[in-house]
Structures are given as structure tokens and as C-alpha cells.
């Protein structure tokens, strides 16, 4: 996937704060292998909330899924291009509180929180 397309695809997939937090969690902890229940415990959301957003992140190539149903396991993408996009477009802007607020405001402005 070309850099620009990849960036657009990732941007379309990360359209709310929970997805942003999920992607950042996997980006910062790239060897995570867990089910929705385990991930929900790490992030403080309910398993249902996590489960509801996973299919879109998997479809966008941000996460990998092993197995189906409640026992499905998730890992971060192994695609270096996607990781580079997340690093450049999100991770570097996620480091300071002010940048984070701006990023979150931008997502909130999209209307889906």
C-alpha cells in the first residue's frame, strides 16, 4: 500500500478516542497478545466496548486477529508501513498532554466519540 493510501486508511479507521487509545496501546506495547477481556482490563473499558471496535481496526490492517468470537486474540500489525504511519501521524503527537488534547479534539469534532 502506498504511503498516502495507508495514511488515509489508518486515518479513516481511527475515528474515535477508544480506537485511538487501542491503537496507541498496541503501538507502545507491540508484543501484546490478548483477548478483548484482557485488553479491556489494561485500558479500563468494558470488554463489550473493546469487542465492538476491534473488527474495524482489524479490517484496516492495524491489528491482527487470531480465532473468532469472545476468545479471539489480537496482536499489533506486523506491517512496517502501517506502523510507520501510526508513529508519524499519531504516536509522535500522543506524547505531550497538549498534543494529545488537540488530537482528541480533532477526533471529537468528527462526531463519533
Amino acid at each position: 500500500m502506498a504511503g498516502h493510501d495507508c495514511s488515509r486508511q489508518v486515518g479513516q479507521a481511527i475515528d474515535n478516542l477508544v480506537k485511538l487509545e487501542l491503537v496507541m496501546f498496541f503501538h507502545e506495547n507491540p508484543e501484546t497478545l490478548d483477548d478483548a477481556c484482557g485488553i479491556s482490563r489494561r485500558l479500563g473499558y468494558s470488554p463489550e466496548v473493546i469487542e465492538s471496535f476491534m473488527p474495524e481496526l482489524v479490517a484496516a490492517g492495524l491489528l491482527m486477529q487470531h480465532g473468532q468470537g469472545p476468545g479471539a486474540l489480537y496482536r499489533y500489525t506486523q506491517d512496517p508501513e502501517v506502523r510507520r504511519v501510526v508513529e508519524g501521524d499519531y504516536s509522535s503527537r500522543y506524547q505531550t498532554k497538549a498534543e494529545r488534547r488537540r488530537l482528541e479534539s480533532a477526533l471529537a469534532a468528527k462526531g463519533v466519540v
Binding site: E31, L73, R75
Partner: protein, 468 residues
């Protein structure tokens, strides 16, 4: 037998070189005791010192936090992960169990990808999430240990304990090959200190007891609480009489001190103990010896002023030297200081050392048994190195000769000299007595001594003035 070094200075020495490769090592401890740090060090040392890639499995702490914390200890785990020598896997106990159960498990594959030889699981306390039934928990842990052994991994598991009263034994200790207990204890009611104890090491010998450790840049350093070698050939080689540097005293000792002896110098405040110590090392330096005065009480500037007022210039002279080192008694890890002292001795070849004072050094430990063990360690290591030591001990009054001679520490030293005040006919006088001189004849007199601008000297006559 081959050993897998844990990579923790001091701890490998306690284990006589490390653990048997392929062992399952349990690390139990209270919060803040250093379990995760020990586990990370085990993995880091495996990769960097023994070329053994490692896998860390964390059920609670985020890997990103581990990378950050390791960085603060000087370990670049991220670089090792980038080189494919390390993976820090964040997962849940159930997923971990499922994905390590067979050769096609995802975690098994991840371990295979980097050729992992060491595994650290932090912490197995989270297996309680799987079941509350102790029998099932035991079965889960046993199967985990067996799975890792089958894979040929040397594995370390951390386990949280709420408190440790001492004797209770967990089922994980039975199933593990090596069990370490870490504690973070309140000591002398004002500070906390960390200790590690090997409670089990299957198929190998180890040094029992609790050993102090510190966490700092570079990770954990353990300070064995006993001398690692009892070889004292340096001290035994020959009995050599040496001048104490105190006029009149050598005659009372029937020829002077004996090299590599430890002399406990006891006396109340103001009796001249520090002057005695300074004078002895200055004298030895004037004869070409390299000496150290370790002060936990007076600062070097005060000691220098005292020495100069008594015509005892410090520093290098006549081929010898006196180094002054000050260490504030608090905050102090006495074991760390003792090991630093031994490093100085080894580096600068000190032959005469004064510690002012032994009660300041061991006082921070609170527990009398532990304080005695520290003193034994100091004496054993100094003797082994052939160092003559003067250990100053403050007493409350001048009438403690009998008490001092019967204290446990008195049995450890070779000689005891008491400085005391005696009030007689409205005058306070100073008297010196030799309470002990191991296996050698000595004067049993109490002789007066004086401190003048030339230092401390014993008056070479027996006096009866103290008798009322």
C-alpha cells in the same frame, strides 16, 4: 557443574556461580521489594552477557513501562527488542496458558522466533484469576514449570506476597527448583532496607541467610552477609608484631599489636578514641604503610584539624599515606559501605584501617543479630586481607570494662582496649586497660594516659591513685 548466572552481582556468588541451567526460579516478595527488577536483570544479563535471548511475559505492568523503568537502570531493552533478542509480551494468564500449551501456540512461536533461552513471568499471582481452587492453582503452576522445562528454558517467576512472617511455605516453592524471597523491611524504625534470601536451590549448595541489596544504576547489587571465603592465609602466614603508634602501649602488649589483628577500642565520649585511631594510622603511614581512617562521625575537616593540632599531619609522607573517608551514618546501607570499604582496601592496599565507629556502622541495622553478623563480616574480610584494624566503639561510661568484654562482639575481635574516666579525690583521670589480647601475654594494669600536643601516650607506671 555448569551454571546459569543470574547476572546479579553478589547473588550469583551466594549461589556459588548461579543456578543449574533449565531451572525454574521462583522470586517471592512484598510490594516494592524488587521482584520485577530482578527478573528484568536476569533477562538483560542473559542477553548481554551470555548471548541468551529472553522473553518477558507481563500480566499487569505495561511493556512500555518496563522499557522506561529499565532505561532508568541503564538497560536499553528497546534496543535488544529491535535486535530480536528480546520480546516483552503483554497478555492475560488464560491466554498465556492456552498459547504455551503446544508447539503451535502463539507465545511458543514468539519465543521460538527469537530463540529464547530465558523466560520471566511477572507475576504468577495473577493465575488466581483463573481459579480460586488451590489444588487447581498448583496444577496450573506445575504444568507451566514442566512446559518451560520441556522447552529447555531457564525460567524465573515472580510472585507477590502480602507479608512474610517467616516460616510459611507456598506450593510454588515446592514446585520450583530455586526459591528466592525478597523483603523490604523497616529497619531501626527510620528506614527501609531490602534483603534477599535463598530458601531453596535444588541440586546445589548456597550461602543461607538474608543478604542486603540495593537497587541503583546497573540494577541490583547484593551484599553477601558473610565472608565468601574463609581463607585467611595472609593473616596466618606469620605472626608479626607491629608498633601501635601509642607510646607506652606496646610495652603493655608485650611487644605491640599483631598484624592483621582487629582491635576493639572502647571508651566514653571525650576519652580519646578518635585521637588513638588517628595517631595509630599516622604512625603507620610514617613507616611507609598505606592507611585509611573511615569516619561515620567526624567530618574530614575536623579530623584534619585534630591531627594537625597534635602534630600528626595527614596525607602522603615517608612513602606511606592516610586517607580520610567520611560517610554520614544516615541514610546508610551498612553492607554497601562494608563492600565499598573492601574495594578501597583492595585498590589502595591499605594495611591499617580505623573505623570510627563500629556502633555507627552497625547501629542502622537495628536487629542485634544482624549487627553482629555485619561485624563478623567486616572482621573476617579485613583479617583475610591481612589488614590491621582499629574498631572504635562508644561506651556510655568508663565503667563498662566487664560489660564490654562479655558482649558478643568482643568474642569476634582479637584485642580489646578500654579507655575510661575514673573520678578520684575530686579529680577525673584517664586510664587505659587491655581487656583482651588473644593468646598473648599482656599487662593487666590500668595505666594512666595523657593527651598532649604530641598526642596520646600511656604513662609507663602502674598507679594506684584510682583506689579510693
Amino acid at each position: 557443574m555448569a551454571r546459569a548466572k543470574l547476572g546479579v552481582a553478589g547473588l550469583d556468588a551466594i549461589l556459588h556461580g548461579g543456578v543449574v541451567p533449565g531451572n525454574a526460579i521462583l522470586v517471592e516478595g512484598t510490594p516494592g521489594a524488587g521482584k520485577t527488577t530482578l527478573g528484568m536483570q536476569f533477562i538483560y544479563a542473559g542477553i548481554t552477557q551470555h548471548n541468551e535471548p529472553g522473553l518477558i511475559v507481563t500480566f499487569e505492568e505495561f511493556p512500555s513501562q518496563m522499557y522506561r523503568d529499565a532505561g532508568m537502570l541503564g538497560w536499553d531493552l528497546q534496543a535488544l527488542a529491535n535486535e530480536n533478542k528480546l520480546k516483552i509480551i503483554s497478555t492475560s494468564p488464560a491466554v498465556f496458558r492456552q498459547e504455551t500449551a503446544g508447539p503451535s501456540g502463539l507465545i511458543t512461536q514468539m519465543a521460538r522466533e527469537i530463540g529464547a533461552e530465558r523466560v520471566m513471568v511477572d507475576s504468577i499471582s495473577h493465575f488466581q484469576r483463573l481459579t480460586q481452587d488451590p489444588a487447581e492453582q498448583r496444577e496450573i503452576f506445575n504444568s507451566l514449570v514442566n512446559m518451560l522445562k520441556r522447552g529447555g528454558f531457564t525460567a524465573m517467576f515472580t510472585k507477590e506476597v502480602k507479608s512474610r512472617s517467616g516460616d510459611e511455605v507456598s506450593f510454588e516453592e515446592y514446585a520450583s527448583d530455586t526459591a528466592l524471597r525478597l523483603t523490604y523491611e523497616v529497619e531501626a524504625s527510620t528506614q527501609r532496607a531490602r534483603y534477599v534470601e535463598v530458601v531453596k536451590a535444588r541440586g546445589q549448595d548456597f550461602i543461607p541467610g538474608k543478604h542486603s541489596f540495593l537497587i541503583g544504576r546497573g540494577g541490583i547489587t547484593v551484599f553477601p552477609s558473610v565472608a565468601l571465603s574463609t581463607d585467611d592465609d595472609a593473616a596466618k602466614a606469620h605472626i608479626e608484631r607491629i608498633d601501635s603508634g601509642i607510646p607506652g602501649l606496646d610495652e603493655m602488649l608485650h611487644g605491640g599489636l599483631i598484624r592483621a589483628w582487629s582491635l576493639l577500642l572502647v571508651g566514653p565520649a571525650g576519652s580519646g578514641k578518635t585521637i588513638f585511631g588517628l595517631q595509630s594510622v599516622c604512625f603507620a603511614a610514617s613507616k611507609g604503610e598505606s592507611c585509611l581512617f573511615l569516619s561515620l562521625r567526624e567530618r574530614p575537616s575536623m579530623l584534619r584539624a585534630t591531627a594537625e593540632s597534635l602534630s600528626m599531619p595527614l596525607g602522603t609522607r615517608g612513602g606511606g599515606s592516610v586517607d580520610l573517608v567520611y560517610q554520614a551514618p544516615l541514610p546508610l546501607n551498612p553492607y554497601a559501605l562494608v563492600y565499598r570499604l573492601l574495594q578501597w582496601i583492595d585498590r589502595k592496599h591499605y594495611t591499617r584501617v580505623v573505623i570510627d565507629s563500629l556502633d555507627d556502622l552497625s547501629g542502622g541495622l537495628g536487629d542485634p543479630g544482624r549487627a553482629l553478623s555485619l561485624i563478623r563480616l567486616v572482621l573476617d574480610e579485613l583479617r583475610r586481607r591481612g589488614v590491621t584494624s582499629i574498631l572504635i566503639w562508644g561506651s556510655r561510661s568508663g565503667d563498662e570494662a566487664g560489660t564490654v568484654a562479655s558482649t558478643p562482639q568482643s568474642g569476634l575481635v582479637d584485642a580489646i582496649i578500654s579507655l575510661r574516666f575514673v573520678e578520684s579525690q575530686g579529680v577525673v583521670r584517664s586510664g587505659l586497660a587491655i581487656l583482651k589480647s588473644r593468646g598473648t601475654a599482656h599487662s593487666t594494669d590500668i595505666r594512666p594516659y595523657q593527651i598532649t600536643s604530641q598526642g596520646l601516650s600511656v604513662v609507663s607506671r602502674r598507679v594506684t591513685v584510682y583506689d579510693d
